[in-house]
């Protein structure tokens, strides 16, 4: 079988490279997916399966010699002295990092508009957001600038922008891919994931990246009881899900498709669903407040013009260097961990998280995979007619569950409604990625990825 990367060896000779660079330059002038782009870096290992293939990396994952800004003013000038394990593994197969993609500051947001360093427009409609926080990665793939781009997913940050831009988005099982070189946001939730232009590419990239890494003590290989690839019973959500009509139509259509293919569709109840978002934001902000305490302005990062003493320097660096959403989450996280409030918020959230895991363990005794929407809306507009920061958080109710329970989830472009893509996702038991790829591949065979009208390079 032909490699899914065959058409993408656009860096294999000088003429192809020139054509490729010209395309990206023109396309990205309208989109703004990249914070840094350089297709002229030394080529990877010859003979690897990714030889001559470009890929992009979210600017929260370290690549030696590229910046590592996390979309923040506080790290704007930081150049990474090392490379993340996930990137090393792809480079070892010949893959070439061509740039770093835009994102919500430290991964905190659903639009990429929380980036301090640039705006990323949705390739389907430039007035709309690309989603977030891995918005640059999803937009770069959708517009045919790269076949795949790495992202990070703490509460939906790969899957939601993938859905908004009409590409595939994998959030692997917690621990399946090494996080060495991923800047920490919420350590019990963070995973390295991938946005890709096809199921085959998402699968191959995941297979190359996965595996226990001695540099990440939380990484692990699947055990002998890892779930097999076959799925017969699909769990679906009943009741009023509060979806926009276009998303509701796409969800019903996807359910109808799988029914027509002979799957058993079973309505399941996830009793804990209404607690996903409050539990998620309690735990994520608590962990963020601890992880982001390292930005002091002393050893690296933004330093204020003047300070009388080291304490003042740190306070000013943080106050001037962090954006509003990051400050909000640090304050919230600090509060829920404070002595006297911990039992009420953080400890309670941890216990509820256990109940959420148990809820999924139970659900997977009745279904092999679970099909849900990714987000209740399609890519939203900026400003009026869009969603404010609070509404965006409430809308994380379908994505955060996979992070809280540590499960793999795979979002796919299910339909185009009103000129914009709609994404759905499958969830599987831990280490059930193969099952996700199989079930979505069937959909892709019948409904290949839709391409945004203006961005169709010959290789995409």
């Amino acid at each position: 079988m032909e490699s899914p990367f065959a058409r993408w060896r656009v860096l294999s000779d000088a003429a192809a490279r020139k054509k490729y660079e010209a395309y990206v330059k023109e396309a990205d002038a309208n989109i703004g997916a990249f914070l840094e782009f350089d297709a002229g870096r030394p080529e990877g290992r010859p003979g690897g399966c990714l030889e001559g293939v470009p890929f992009a990396v979210k600017d929260i994952i370290a690549v030696k010699g590229f910046h590592l800004t996390c979309g923040s003013k506080i790290l704007q000038n930081l150049v990474s002295p090392y490379t993340a394990t996930a990137v090393e593994k792809l480079a070892a197969e010949g893959g070439i990092v061509v740039g770093k993609t835009n994102m919500d500051e430290f991964g905190m947001g659903s639009s990429t508009d929380n980036s301090a360093l640039g705006k990323t427009n949705n390739p389907w409609d430039g007035r709309r957001v690309s989603g977030g926080s891995s918005g640059g990665s999803a937009a770069a793939v959708a517009a045919g600038m790269v076949p795949f781009a790495l992202g990070s997913d703490t509460g939906g940050s790969v899957r939601q922008p993938a859905a908004f831009c009409g590409v595939y988005g994998l959030k692997p099982t917690y621990g399946a891919v090494s996080r060495y070189g991923l800047v920490a946001y919420a350590s019990s939730l963070d995973v390295v994931g991938v946005c890709a232009c096809s199921v085959g590419i998402a699968r191959d990239v995941f297979e190359l990246m996965r595996g226990q890494d001695e540099k990440d003590q939380s990484s692990l290989d699947p055990g002998p009881d890892a779930p097999g690839p076959d799925a017969k019973v699909i769990g679906v959500l009943g009741g009023d899900l509060g979806l926009d009509p276009a998303v509701e139509r796409a969800y019903r259509a996807a359910i109808g498709f799988y029914k027509s293919k002979g799957f058993e569709l079973k309505e399941i109840t996830l009793a804990m669903a209404e607690y996903y978002v409050p539990v998620y934001y309690t735990i994520a902000t608590a962990e963020a407040s601890a992880n982001l305490a390292r930005y002091t302005g002393i050893r690296y990062g933004y330093r204020p013009a003047c300070a009388e003493n080291p304490e003042e320097l740190t306070r000013r660096a943080r106050s001037e260097g962090f954006g509003d959403e990051v400050k909000l989450r640090i304050l919230l996280g600090t509060y829920v961990l404070r002595s006297g409030f911990q039992d009420q918020y953080y400890q309670r959230a941890q216990r509820l998280r256990q109940a959420i895991r148990a809820d999924f363990d139970n659900a997977f005794t009745r279904a092999d995979v679970i099909l849900t929407p990714v987000f209740p809306t399609q890519a939203f507009l900026r400003g009026q007619g869009g969603l404010d920061q609070f509404q965006q958080k409430l809308a994380d109710r379908f994505t955060t569950a996979a992070n809280l329970a540590g499960l793999p989830a795979f979002s796919f472009p299910a339909a185009v409604e009103d000129g914009l893509p709609v994404g759905m996702q499958f969830l599987a038991p831990a280490f059930g990625e193969a099952r996700l790829f199989e079930v979505v591949r069937l959909y892709e065979e019948n409904f290949p990825r839709p391409l945004p009208p203006r961005y169709k390079p010959e290789w995409s």
């Binding site: 934001y281 003493n309 000013r316 919230l332």
Partner: protein, 91 residues
């Protein structure tokens, strides 16, 4: 959350808030805490608090590994004097 609690929290977080920021972020924090009170509906504290992870902890030897080269780390320091990072007076 009253104003003094927000002040204490901001101090603990090492963040200085201007007057306007204090008001706007204060409102946002309040809104989220209101929303978190949804968790109080449950008898959450009677739930088990078992380990979050199913795998055992794994440790590594406490030894220097070759990855981070000290000089390239120093290149990111805002201000250097020889191989020392310059900061304001401590005393």
């Amino acid at each position: 959350m009253d104003v003094s609690e927000l002040k204490v929290t901001a101090d603990l977080a090492n963040i200085e808030l201007g007057e306007e920021e204090f008001a706007s972020l204060g409102r946002e924090v309040e809104k989220m805490l209101d929303y978190f009170s949804k968790m109080m509906e449950t008898d959450g504290m009677s739930l088990p608090s078992g380990p979050g992870r199913r795998a055992a902890n794994r440790t590594r030897p406490d030894a220097v590994s070759g990855d981070a080269d000290p000089d390239s780390l120093l290149e990111n320091a805002p201000e250097l004097e020889d191989r020392f990072i310059v900061i304001p007076n401590v005393l």
